[in-house]
Amino acid sequence: MSSNTLAQAAETTKMQKFFKSNFWYSFTRDKVAIVSFTIFVILAGAALLAPVIAPTNPYDMAAIDIMDSELPPSWSEEGDERFLLGTDDQGRDLLSTILYGMRTSLTIGLCAVMLQMFLGVVIGLSSGYFGGRMDSFLMRMADIQLSFSTMMVAIIVLAVFQASFGSELYSKLAMLMLILVIGIAEWPQYARTIRASVLAEKKKEYVEAARVMGFGSGRIMFRHILPNCLSPILVISTVQIANAIISEAALSFLGLGMPVSQPSLGALISSGFEYIFSGSWWITVIPGIVLVVLVLVMNLLGDWLRDVMNPKLYKG
């Protein structure tokens, strides 16, 4: 038998195991989880495939005609059939802009959370594993960080950056800056959660067994303790991505986020807000609904995940 077929056999048994697992069972029994997951997959897929499925490219200045600006959605009387959801104030197709904007929002959310996770895991793991002075120091840092509101820190940093380097450079680096600011501002959430589960895992005998074997701290922390702390990490990640997307939207709404040329969902809502009283409601409302739905399904999935992964619930 070739190694390829062996690998395939292993793969199928893994799939079978997955379909027999508690995880899959509870998923198929939970309508909210199924609906949320489906919506999430559709939205994320649409965002990922934006360059393929979007009717126009909103970043392409040459394709935009200012004469098309503020056209209502195609189903209303003055609508234009070329633009399914209408156009924004600059004449961009709203559907395409939303798809590209969602892409930007999700990228920022994911990257910011990865940064949070990296910082939080390293800090929480060291803090919980080594304990003592290091623990006190790192956790006081976390407390200080938490006593500033994320928004306040983000606004100050972004405003200072914009003022000192000019909006030209800012618009180039906006995405990176947003990732850094949101990523750094929220690490204590992770660090605290991970520290708590490390403290619980550290007392278990498999950790002592690893120490008796003579393994070093790094190996014990990353190979033995960390994999056993994955469930809470997974659970807070879903909520944190949703939070990061909201933070980004809020910052963009305040004019400190993505530039008008590359709008995220928040920036789009903000740019449409100026026209809402002149009757062009769609520029704000449609991206707003998309944002709310995206964040809602992620939070619902997070709730479901927390219930499934709580070992107390499925022991009974």
């Binding site: 498999y206 008796v212 994999p227």
Partner: protein, 574 residues
């Protein structure tokens, strides 16, 4: 008419994998003033019967059939208010763990009076008087003072007395005691059992005593029902059953109980337990048989522990003088000969596990030396110590938490081999892992699975294989079988003895269970509050204990001398 009669009771736990029947058509009766023991191993359904009687089954369990008749009234399936009338006032319940069955935020008095008021509709003064009377009855001194105290101010045994007092508060006709002494030390266990027995006889209360411990059954109960996988295999007079067991399961259960009177070469192997075929390997030519040379050292003192002291901070403070400590190890000295099994025995909190952890290098002692094969480990850096670390390995108490749940069994065992560079190639590592798994009786196929797919006894075999994977010379067994059923315990202890013979291992064996210690050890040290009170040869220690503490421990040890051991091959040590 009997006080309680249970007829063809059937309890089911429906789940998506099908319905698990945990109690199958069990029938028994109980008279007033009688103590009935329900005995069996884990999963036998003994606790489920107790919970089923007062409808405390955890979801999705349900009573699927049969009758439960209490004093002429059928009570099966009663719910809500009707069941509440029975709980407490007609049936009292004693739980296993006294540490968690009392509310830590309420005083003992509040909890007792609450029960008295709920079950007897009295006013506060009468309830208080009744509470005092109950505390007195369960043998708690100074009841006036104790009434105002919180559970954390009581010891484990005292808490269990309080739980008994609460169970008695409603003057029940029946008491169900679910493993009431499993969480307690042996000396306390005896007092609590005597108390339960005395109260039942004095008050003419029927009692169902659920336990896994044959010693408890022998010393406390009038009649006994033996359960095996939800079925009652035998029921009758305790002495009859213990002396003349009819069913083969009862016989094997009794024979697996470690004997306290003589030391046997091996535990009698019994049927009715999970199969484990240990494949022999040619140790002399195998990787496992390779021994590192340590140069010359005194082989009578492979391990020497000298004046070991360790204290833990109980109250931290900035100033040294304000800190408070508890002396976990108090000037402990002993030595272990190469190839022998040295036992450390003591009650909980006596410092035996802490001593083992200092030897294994998990804690650093305040003062004193641990000398292994002539090398003082305390004076070494971590790097110098690493090669020595793998010479000393440990098998832990709790098989459920001592294996990393996210690694396959093969990875768990291969990791130390890989880490210490003990094999030449990945192929060889895999071969060694397979041999180890075969040798501890799991079979090489077990390597691909995860720890949660195994039972407690099987996991303990994995732990042993992992400990052997570094080719240790010295094995520390920290209560390796206290979480296991007796028949599995017998298997695991036999495995340890076999491995010791084959590999010439030296063992430090820690247990609170004197009969187990007697079967396993050549020499024994008795520990009390962090200090060693007596060290002696096993036989001398048991036949002629010197220290009063040891004498007391041996006195309260459950004796099963009159048990039938006929038909079981016994091979005594010459």
């Amino acid at each position: 008419m009997s006080l309680l009669s249970v007829d063809k009771l059937r309890i089911e736990f429906p789940s998506r994998h099908g319905t698990a029947v945990s109690v199958k058509d069990v029938s028994f009766t109980l008279e007033k003033g009688e103590i009935l023991g329900l005995v069996g191993e884990s999963g036998a359904g003994k606790s489920t019967i107790g919970n089923g009687i007062i409808n405390l089954l955890s979801a999705p369990g349900r009573v699927a059939g049969g009758k439960i008749i209490l004093d002429g009234e059928p009570i099966q399936g009663l719910e809500g208010e009707a069941m509440r009338q029975i709980r407490g006032s007609r049936i009292g319940f004693i739980f296993q763990d006294p540490m968690t069955s009392l509310n830590p935020l309420l005083t003992i008095g509040t909890q007792l009076m609450e029960t008295v008021i709920a079950t007897r509709n009295t006013d506060e003064n009468t309830a208080r008087a009744r509470a005092l009377e109950l505390l007195d009855a369960v043998g708690i001194p100074e009841p006036e003072l104790r009434l105002a105290q919180y559970p954390h101010q009581f010891s484990g045994g005292m808490r269990q007395r309080v739980v008994i007092a609460i169970a008695l508060a409603g003057d029940p006709e029946l008491i169900i005691a679910d493993e009431p002494t499993t969480a307690l030390d042996v000396s306390v266990q005896n007092q609590v059992l005597e108390l339960i027995r005395k109260l039942c006889k004095e008050r003419d209360v029927g009692c169902i005593l659920v336990t896994h411990d044959m010693g408890v059954i022998a010393n406390t109960t009038d009649r006994v029902a033996v359960l095996y996988q939800g079925e009652m295999v035998e029921c009758g007079d305790t002495m009859d059953i213990l002396e003349r067991p009819q069913h083969p399961y009862t016989r094997s259960l009794i024979s697996a109980v470690p004997r306290s009177d003589i030391k046997l070469h091996r535990f009698p192997q019994v049927d009715y337990i999970e199969k484990a075929d240990c494949k022999p390997i040619d140790i002399k030519n195998h990787w496992l048989g390779v021994k590192e040379d340590f140069g010359s050292f005194d082989h009578d003192k492979l391990l020497q522990v000298e004046n070991l002291n360790l204290r833990f901070v109980t109250q931290n403070a900035f100033l040294e003088k304000n800190r408070r400590y508890v002396q976990a190890i108090d000037n402990v000295s002993f030595h272990v000969k190469e190839g022998e099994t040295f036992g450390l025995v003591g009650e909980s909190g006596s410092g035996k596990s802490t001593t083992a952890r200092v030897i294994a290098g998990l804690y650093a002692p305040q003062s004193g030396n641990v000398i292994f094969a002539g090398q003082n480990m305390g004076q070494m850096s971590e790097k110098q110590r690493r090669p020595l670390r793998r010479e000393i390995q440990m098998v832990f108490q709790n098989p459920y938490s001592s294996l990393n749940a996210r690694m396959t069994v093969a990875d768990i065992i291969a990791e130390p081999i890989h880490f210490h560079d003990l094999a030449d190639s990945a192929m060889q590592t895999r071969q060694i892992v397979n041999d180890l798994l075969d040798h501890v009786g799991l079979g090489a196929a077990a390597g691909r699975r995860y720890p949660h797919e195994f039972s407690g006894g099987q996991r303990q075999r994995i732990s042993i294989a992992r400990a052997l994977a570094t080719r240790p010379r010295f094995l520390i067994c920290d209560e390796p079988t206290s979480a296991l059923d007796v028949s599995v315990q017998a298997q695991i202890l036999n495995l340890l003895k076999d491995l010791q013979d084959e590999l010439g291992l030296t063992m430090l064996f820690i247990s609170h269970d004197l009969p187990v210690i007697r079967q396993m050890c050549d020499r024994i040290a008795v520990m009390k509050q962090g200090a060693i009170v007596e060290i002696n040869d096993t036989d001398t220690l048991f036949s002629n204990p010197q220290d009063p503490y040891t004498q007391n421990l041996i006195d309260v040890m459950p004796h099963l001398d009159h048990l039938s051991r006929e038909g079981l091959e016994l091979e005594t040590v010459a």
